[in-house]
């Protein structure tokens, strides 16, 4: 080499340190959070399409009563896999994708706290998704509904591998979710830019932080429930079998202790995105930042105390029902706080009607419609009518499609310029918004009515002549309209990636740190570690008249893969952190786990053994320390 490393320009030096080896082998070893984040986004989006196509097929069958397009076996697999896909393989991973991509950029850091664990959580997500979907190849996808109530899901009533895929697949996926959660917590605690104290974080980070902590307590009950189910099915235990002293209710408690927190886990980061994006497009800070941050955290907490509202019709004592009904009612307050904070921000701001903003504004309406139908189901006596009817299907789609899909699509409109360096087409974006918005309402609003007309959920067909046909047909039309909207989005992304306008550093004039670096960001994210002096570092000139945060000066950390560690509460510099480089261990570990879970599925003990041994080897290899340098 002609020049020594020290003589190269800064960006050149940093690139050399942080770059991933080119080619497939390099890609398999990459631990760059941006790469992983994009993989998460794309993979989760593919699952959205898979789940969506499953739903479209269901909608065709339900377009009219007594259609015979799907057999009951097929329908049951489709609606189960639709629910499982949407809730586990799309809704949560897509948000992990955003967090993975954006966190270090927002934090002014070079990577996540555990880059390799980040890769692990992606690989496990991918493989567990493949695991669950491989059930279609053998024609035995899970068919017990997304909450798989025992004893229907016991071996006696569901022989075959269907529910083994479910029990093992979700346990496997749980590893990814948990590892990811730990990573987010430590990243937030350790790698914030100096000065970025807790009251200066974007709300989005509060969302992800809250759900990451929730995950630590919410994933285990699902894992326990699934392991019990698997043992019941394969080893003859009796956890859910009343005849042997077990109880089907045990499954319901365990599942919903997980399940309710989970539905907030899949929306709080998305709501956080809204809380950050609305202010950008309203050209003013969020009204009531502290309240919204607290609302986010308290929703996560309260979410652990409402699970029984999914079990109102199971014959529990009145006292229990009232308690959980009250808790479910109280949980609306933090949501209401957020809603009025958004409304006030829009009211007192100067809205800029971009496609992204339209999605956020549309979201507010959808959230409230979905929210109030939740409040209706929280009233026990009325829930006895509503539960397990299409009304609940309406509720869950307004909150899931409304609070998750809308912010996600709007979030892509917002951050795509950062990720790719090109703008998405605004014109197509507006078409995209309106087709999806109208489509969603045409698709899901009539479900409220159908519920009230007495139509139960999870039926593969229904009698004609009960007044259900017309609304079902309307829904089917809405479903295809919504799908067209999704298609427009895909077209927009595909086209704009190649031909979109150049984005520049900060096309939206947004306030947070990710908008201070080039689009797309360089591999090392930030050339210097910034020092943050306020909640809106890039708005300081306009808000307080001077640039107090130091964005372009600060430590450069060029001695290797390094980033800054700061203290947990007030983000004071603590140390320089050495970050691990690219590695194959995460992929190997994920593959070993996959071998283990396939072994368990097939009952091949040798494969279980191989998987376990390989897991041990991978973890040991991963953690194997470097020989100590000579002690200085």
């Amino acid at each position: 080499m002609a020049t020594t490393a020290a003589e190269l320009p800064l960006d050149e030096r940093l690139s050399r340190i942080w770059e991933t080896r080119p080619g497939l082998l390099g890609a398999l070893s990459s631990v760059d959070h941006k790469t992983i984040g994009k993989r998460y986004l794309v993979t989760a989006f593919v699952f959205l399409i898979l789940g969506g196509v499953e739903a479209l097929v269901m909608r065709v069958q339900l377009a009219h009563g007594a259609l015979g397009i799907l057999s009951p076996e097929e329908y049951d697999q489709l609606f189960t896999m639709h629910g499982v896909t949407m809730l586990f393989l799309y809704a949560s991973p897509i948000l992990s994708g955003f967090s993975n991509y954006l966190w270090p950029l927002m934090l002014g850091s070079r990577d996540m706290a555990y880059p390799r664990m980040n890769a692990l959580s992606y690989w496990v997500f991918l493989l567990s998704g493949i695991f669950l979907y491989s059930s279609f190849l053998v024609g035995h996808a899970p068919d017990g509904g997304w909450f798989a109530y025992a004893p229907l899901t016991e071996e006696l009533f569901s022989p075959g591998v269907d529910l083994d895929f479910y029990a093992l697949g979700l346990t496997f996926l749980g590893i990814s979710t948990t590892v990811g959660a730990v990573n987010f917590i430590v990243t937030l605690a350790r790698t914030r830019a100096p000065g970025m104290s807790l009251n200066r974080l974007p709300i989005f980070m509060y969302g992800t932080l809250t759900v990451s902590v929730s995950i630590l307590f919410a994933m285990p009950p699902l894992t326990v429930a699934c392991i019990f189910l698997f043992f019941d099915r394969q080893f003859g235990t009796h956890f859910y079998q009343a005849a042997f002293g077990g109880s089907p209710m045990l499954w319901q408690h365990l599942f919903w202790i997980f399940g309710h927190p989970w539905v907030y886990i899949v929306v709080l980061p998305a709501m956080g995105m809204v809380s950050d994006i609305i202010p950008t497009f309203c050209r003013r800070p969020l009204v009531g930042y502290t309240f919204v941050a607290l609302a986010t955290v308290s929703t996560g907490l309260l979410g652990f105390g409402v699970w029984v509202h999914h079990m109102f019709a199971t014959g529990l004592p009145t006292m229990t029902l009232s308690f959980f009904s009250a808790a479910s009612t109280i949980i609306t307050i933090p949501s209401a706080v957020a809603v009025f904070a958004w409304l006030a921000t829009i009211w007192y701001g100067r809205p800029w009607f971009t496609a992204s903003f339209l999605f956020m504004a549309g979201f507010v309406v959808l959230f409230v419609i979905g929210g109030v139908s939740g409040v209706m189901t929280a009233a026990v006596p009325f829930d006895w009518q509503l539960t397990d009817s299409y009304f609940v299907v309406a509720h869950l789609h307004y909150v899931l499609a409304g609070i998750n899909v809308f912010p996600v699509i709007g979030g892509i409109y917002y951050w795509f310029p950062k990720m790719s360096g090109r703008m998405l087409s605004e014109r197509l974006g507006k078409w995209n918004f309106w087709t999806m918005f109208v489509g969603l309402n045409v698709l899901f609003f009539p479900m409220h009515i159908l519920g009230m007309l007495g139509m139960p959920r999870r039926v593969y067909t229904y009698p004609v002549g009960l007044g259900w046909d017309t609304w079902n047909l309307v829904e089917t039309i809405g479903a295809f309209l919504f799908a067209v909207g999704v298609l427009l989005f895909i077209i927009n992304v595909a086209w704009s990636r190649a031909f979109g306008d150049r984005a520049g550093v900060n096309p939206w004039n947004a306030p947070s740190l990710e908008w201070s670096i080039p689009s797309p960001p360089p591999v090392y994210n930030v050339a210097v570690i910034p020092t943050v002096a306020s909640r809106h570092p890039l708005w300081e000139p306009e808000l307080i008249g001077e640039q107090k945060s130091r964005i372009h000066e600060g430590p450069t950390l060029t001695d290797g893969r390094e980033t800054m560690a700061t203290t947990t509460l007030d983000a004071q510099p603590l140390a320089v952190l050495r970050m691990p480089g690219d590695s194959y261990w995460p992929l190997l570990l994920a593959l070993s786990l996959a071998a283990f879970f396939y072994g368990a599925l097939l009952g091949w003990w040798w494969l279980i053994g191989v998987g376990a041994a390989a897991t041990f080897v991978s973890i040991t290899g991963w953690l194997w320390p470097e020989p100590p340098a000579e002690e200085a």
């Binding site: 800064l10 350790r190 307590f217 285990p220 019990f228 043992f231 600060g554 430590p555 140390a575 952190l577």
Partner: protein, 200 residues
């Protein structure tokens, strides 16, 4: 453009409780603790809804379980002894401590195996037996994992990869081991003692 400011006043890397490695272990422990909490929740739930006697076959035998508990507690002590050894730079004590802990852990598992063999019921007898074997089995698996960690760290110690200044691995596995012991106390209290307190 960017101005370089140096950070040479800051230490490189974090040690002890501030290090990401320690945080990772701590959060793993939180997660695992909640896993066991739900296992025990399941026990109490099924006990509460049981129709007949609980446990169905009468109160569990304590003859093996009490000494076994003592063994595990002692192993926590030896682990602590080993870890404080490395903190003081006494590598010999570390090696010995880890070894003793390892042996005690193996004895614990062996006694657990003997107890399994002596139980009049198998895994499939009823819900109680399912709970008993599953919960103690998961605990046993955690002990086994702790032993594997112990073994790996012993190898590292012997190969000089762990030094008094680079001892995070020892701290981490020590915490994990203490956690496994504390979980055992919870499991022991629930499965073995609560029937004696009239808790069903």
């Amino acid at each position: 453009m960017a101005t370089a400011t140096t950070t040479r006043s800051l230490p490189v890397g974090l040690r002890g409780k501030a290090s990401p490695a320690f945080w990772g272990m701590a959060l793993l422990i939180v997660n695992e603790a909640s896993f066991f909490a739900y296992l025990l929740f399941s026990y109490f739930y099924l006990a509460a809804v049981a129709h007949g006697a609980w446990p169905p076959g009468g109160r569990p035998e304590l003859k093996l379980a009490i000494p076994n508990t003592v063994i595990l507690l002692v192993s926590s002590g030896t682990m602590w002894w080993a870890e404080s050894g490395v903190r003081k730079g006494r590598m010999g004590r570390l090696k010995l401590g880890l070894l003793i802990t390892f042996v005690l852990g193996v004895i614990f598992l062996a006694i657990q195996g003997v107890e399994y063999a002596s139980k009049p019921f198998g895994l499939r007898a009823d819900a109680y037996s399912s709970l008993f074997y599953t919960i103690t089995g998961f605990h046993g698996a955690h002990v086994a994992v702790g032993l594997l960690m112990n073994l790996v760290v012993q190898v590292w110690v012997w190969r000089g990869l762990v030094t008094p200044t680079r001892r995070q691995a020892v701290t981490n596995i020590a915490w994990y081991w203490h956690f496994v012991d504390v979980v055992w106390l919870a499991v022991f209290t629930t499965l073995y003692l609560s029937p004696y307190f009239g808790l069903r």
